[in-house]
């Protein structure tokens, strides 16, 4: 085991203690496992709550702060959080203007957030929900329960967070969040498997010299296993897969996302190739974000997410954000 951990069982609370130590601007409740903006609830503002299995950091806890999420609920590694966390988070951040749940489309997340929504609504919270399902890799499968939610989560959280910060009402925040979620598309590639603490080793076998095209953020299989490709070839495969399902030809926001263990040096090189392919396909890129944002523990690889953006989305994207993981304009 090459893990910087104490024991697999305490990985999540250990990380939350570290977050608490590093980020006095956040309220980190280690016992209830929620990360909350220190100044929540913010009067007059719709609140955003997200969450999901741990292992994808900075998603979601690292996106809590002004201009983005009001609270995040980290589950165990690769395991959806429980409804109690979401209910506690909603209670902590609701100013009376209502709460938007941002949910990645995985059975566990959907079920747990649904239960939480019911409970929170019983307690009088006005709730809306947006489901992120941007991963084009497995739409080919006839038996998939919809597309998986991956990189677009960041776009949804940032853009809806900015709109909420402007004071927009719940319905509009939810509508815009859905617009982003429904128009964004992603495609990921793994160059190595990730290892979960509980497994203590790689989640799947990926011999050196092979890659998994269309991998999921928990190491779920994608479209095909291939012999190693160059960065340029991978960029082309990923961009073309995304463009094929992108429902608009507006200029795009581009996320060139590292899976965790791919050096930033390589990721920037990949970003250059992604831009080259997009230019060849005549897709204008309005903004680019490069880095490790929606990770899969120590998986090597990268994903590309594109979100067609009109003037309003660009304005909201550029709006100030101040979180541990994403920060500009403030």
């Amino acid at each position: 085991m090459r893990m910087l951990i104490n024991v697999p069982e305490t990985v999540v609370p250990d990380a939350l203690r570290g977050m608490a130590a590093a980020h006095p601007e956040l309220t980190v409740d280690v016992d209830r496992r929620i990360v909350v903006r220190r100044d929540a609830p913010v009067a007059g503002k719709v609140a955003l709550v997200s969450g999901g299995g741990s292992g994808h950091e900075p998603l979601h806890g690292g996106f809590v702060g002004p201009g983005m999420l009001d609270a995040a609920c980290p589950g165990e590694v690769f395991t959806s959080p429980v409804p109690d966390q979401m209910v506690a988070a909603a209670a902590a951040v609701d100013s009376g203007e209502g709460v938007l749940f941002v949910v990645k489309n995985y059975t566990g997340d959907v079920l747990n957030f649904d239960m939480a929504a019911e409970l929170a609504e019983d307690e009088g919270v006005r709730l809306a929900k947006v489901l992120v399902q941007d991963d084009v890799a497995v739409t080919d499968s006839t038996h998939t329960a919809g597309r998986r939610g991956t990189g677009a989560t960041l776009f949804v959280e940032k853009i809806a967070g900015a709109l909420a910060a402007e004071g927009a009402p719940l319905e509009r925040v939810a509508d815009t969040a859905r617009r982003v979620a429904e128009s964004s598309r992603s495609f990921g590639v793994a160059l190595s498997a990730c290892s979960t603490p509980s497994k203590g080793g790689p989640m799947f076998e990926l011999p050196p010299g092979e890659l998994e095209l269309g991998v999921g953020i928990h190491g779920e299989p994608g479209r095909e296993r291939r012999a190693m490709m160059t960065s340029g070839e991978i960029a082309q495969a990923a961009v073309d897969a995304v463009l094929e399902e992108l429902p608009s030809d507006q200029p795009v926001l581009a996320l060139v996302n590292g899976m965790g263990a791919t050096p930033l040096l390589e990721l920037y090189g990949f970003c250059g190739e992604v831009h080259r392919v997009l230019a060849e396909r005549r897709v204008p890129v309005a903004r680019t974000l490069v880095g490790n944002y929606v990770t899969s523990l120590d998986m090597a690889g990268a994903s590309v997410t594109l979100c067609p953006a009109d003037e309003e989305l660009l304005r909201l994207w550029d709006a100030p954000v101040r979180t541990p993981g994403l920060r500009w304009g403030v």
Partner: protein
């Protein structure tokens, strides 16, 4: 410790029961906690083949919490034992299995109502209602390679025996779980594997078989056959 009330002190024979009390249900849950703890690594191993390698940890965490809750005090009725356990699973497991198993136990418990003693037939009917709720919540059908493929045959076998043969339920669950190996996943994370999911047992079906084995164990402890 009580259990099957006709035979007293939890020494049920598993056969012609007149009914089961709260202590029996608590014993079931504890036996499930033991089984899940013992088999956690195997469940995770199965989940790592076709899922995300957390099912063992999920089930262990949930049932340990159930055990602790019962250690604080056993609720008065069979229904409330299962509803308490189900709520605890929902609150501690997460993932897909938390809401699904939580719903299973909560709905089964709710269907049992507030009787202090329930018959085998009542249990069989309630279990079936619980399984319906799981199917509704998760949208899965028989043959989709999920926990349902172990739960449904078990409930059917129990019902077929007039609610008497807990071991038949266990055997049916184990058979159902084993048979998921040949199925292709259509729900949950394993569904992303498509045809590649064939050849691996479904982890949730495996844990469902453990749950049914624990039921048989709770009912048949005296026979030493568990």
């Amino acid at each position: 410790m009580s259990g099957k009330v006709t035979n007293g002190a939890g020494e049920g024979t598993g056969g012609s029961a007149e009914g089961w009390d709260a202590a029996f249900f608590a014993r079931w849950m504890r036996a499930a906690a033991d089984a899940v703890d013992r088999e956690a690594d195997r469940l995770t191993e199965l989940d790592s083949a076709i899922g995300d390698a957390d099912h063992g940890g999920n089930m262990r965490r949930g049932f340990e919490a159930v055990r602790s809750e019962l250690d604080e005090g056993v609720p008065a009725t069979p229904g409330s034992v299962l509803m308490t356990a189900g709520r605890k699973l929902v609150s501690t497991v997460g993932g897909a299995s938390g809401p699904l198993y939580g719903t299973l136990l909560r709905r089964t418990g709710k269907t049992l109502g507030d009787a202090e003693v329930v018959t085998g037939e009542e249990l069989a009917g309630a279990l079936s209602a619980g399984i319906d709720a799981v199917a509704q919540l998760g949208g899965a059908a028989a043959g989709d390679k999920t926990m349902l493929d172990a739960l449904r045959p078990a409930a059917d076998a129990l019902a077929d025996s007039g609610g008497k043969d807990l071991r038949a339920a266990r055997t049916a669950a184990e058979k159902g779980a084993e048979e998921t190996t040949g199925l292709q996943a259509r729900k949950g994370r394993a569904s992303y594997l498509g045809e590649r999911s064939i050849g691996h047992q479904d982890p949730g079906a495996a844990s469902a078989a453990l749950l049914m084995a624990a039921l048989a164990e709770a009912g048949g402890e005296a026979e030493g056959s568990a």
